[in-house]
C-alpha cells in the first residue's frame, strides 16, 4: 500500500539554525500538508499546498517557515531560524483530490531545538 514517508525521523539542531524537513507524498495525490504536534499538545495545522503554491496557512506559519515541492516527488518544510518553541513532531500528509478523500500521514519528524 502506498504511504507517505518522511526524513529524517529525528533532527536535533541549535537555535538559530535552518532545518529542512523532507516528505515524499503518495504519488497520485494533489494536496499536501504539514502539521505539527508539540509534546503534550494537539496536532495543529500549519500549511496546505496545491498546484505548486500555498493554498492556506495558519497563523503559526510565519515568515520563518516555507514550503516547496522542488521536484515531482518531494515536499519540504524549511524553518529558516529555529527557535526553542519550534521543537515538535512535524507530520506531512497528502490526499488525492476532494475534501472527502482520506489524508494520509507520514510517521513524522521529531525536531529538537537546543
Amino acid at each position: 500500500e502506498p504511504e507517505v514517508t518522511q526524513t529524517p525521523s529525528h533532527q536535533v539542531t541549535q537555535m538559530g539554525q535552518e532545518v529542512i524537513l523532507r516528505c515524499v507524498p503518495i504519488s497520485n495525490h494533489l494536496y499536501f500538508y504539514w502539521y505539527r504536534q508539540i509534546l503534550g499538545q494537539k496536532v495543529e495545522f500549519l500549511v496546505s499546498f496545491y498546484n505548486n503554491e500555498i493554498s492556506e496557512k495558519s497563523e503559526i506559519f510565519d515568515d520563518q517557515f516555507s514550503v516547496e515541492r522542488p521536484d515531482g516527488s518531494n515536499f519540504t518544510l524549511k524553518i529558516r531560524s529555529t527557535k526553542l518553541e519550534d521543537s515538535a513532531m512535524y507530520f506531512c500528509a497528502s490526499r488525492r483530490q476532494t475534501s472527502t478523500d482520506t489524508q494520509y500521514f507520514g510517521p513524522g519528524t521529531r525536531l529538537t531545538v537546543l
Binding site: 507517505v4 494536496y31 500538508y33 502539521y35 499538545q41 494537539k42 496536532v43 495543529e44 495545522f45 496546505s48 496545491y50 493554498s55 492556506e56 507530520f91 500528509a93 490526499r95 476532494t98 475534501s99 472527502t100 478523500d101 482520506t102 489524508q103 494520509y104 500521514f105 507520514g106 510517521p107 513524522g108
Partner: protein
C-alpha cells in the same frame, strides 16, 4: 469559534472490555468527521470517517463511530479491546466548505489497556 473537544485525556480499560471515546464539535454546519489513531512512534492512521448518510460508521480494526447531530457528537466505540489498541486517539473535523481540507484535531485521548 470552531472547536473539537475530546473530554477524556486518558482512559484505562481492561483487555476484552468495551471502549467508548467521546468527541464533540462546535461548527457552523456539520463538518466532515474523522477518527485517527497514533501508536507509539507511528504516524496518524485513519480509523473511520463520516460525511453523510448512515450515522453508524464502521472502520478498521473493529472500531465504529456514531454521529449524533442533536448532540454534535461523534463517539468512537469498540466492543472488545485488544492490547494492541493501546494508543492515542484523535477526533478531527474538516469544514464542508473548506476546499483545502485542513484537519482540525481534538486534544486526543490516551488509551491504556490492562491485562
Amino acid at each position: 469559534a470552531q472547536s473539537v473537544t475530546q473530554p477524556d485525556i486518558h482512559i484505562t480499560v481492561s483487555e476484552g472490555a468495551s471502549l467508548e471515546l467521546r468527541c464533540n464539535y462546535s461548527y457552523g454546519a456539520t463538518p466532515y468527521l474523522f477518527w485517527y489513531v497514533q501508536s507509539p512512534g507511528q504516524g496518524l492512521q485513519l480509523l473511520l470517517k463520516y460525511f453523510s448518510g448512515d450515522t453508524l460508521v464502521q472502520g478498521i480494526k473493529g472500531f465504529e463511530a456514531e454521529f449524533k447531530r442533536s448532540q454534535s457528537s461523534f463517539n468512537l466505540r469498540k466492543p472488545s479491546v485488544h492490547w494492541s489498541d493501546a494508543a492515542e486517539y484523535f477526533c478531527a473535523v474538516v469544514g464542508t466548505t473548506d476546499s483545502w481540507g485542513k484537519l482540525q484535531f481534538g486534544a486526543g485521548t490516551q488509551v491504556v489497556v490492562t491485562p
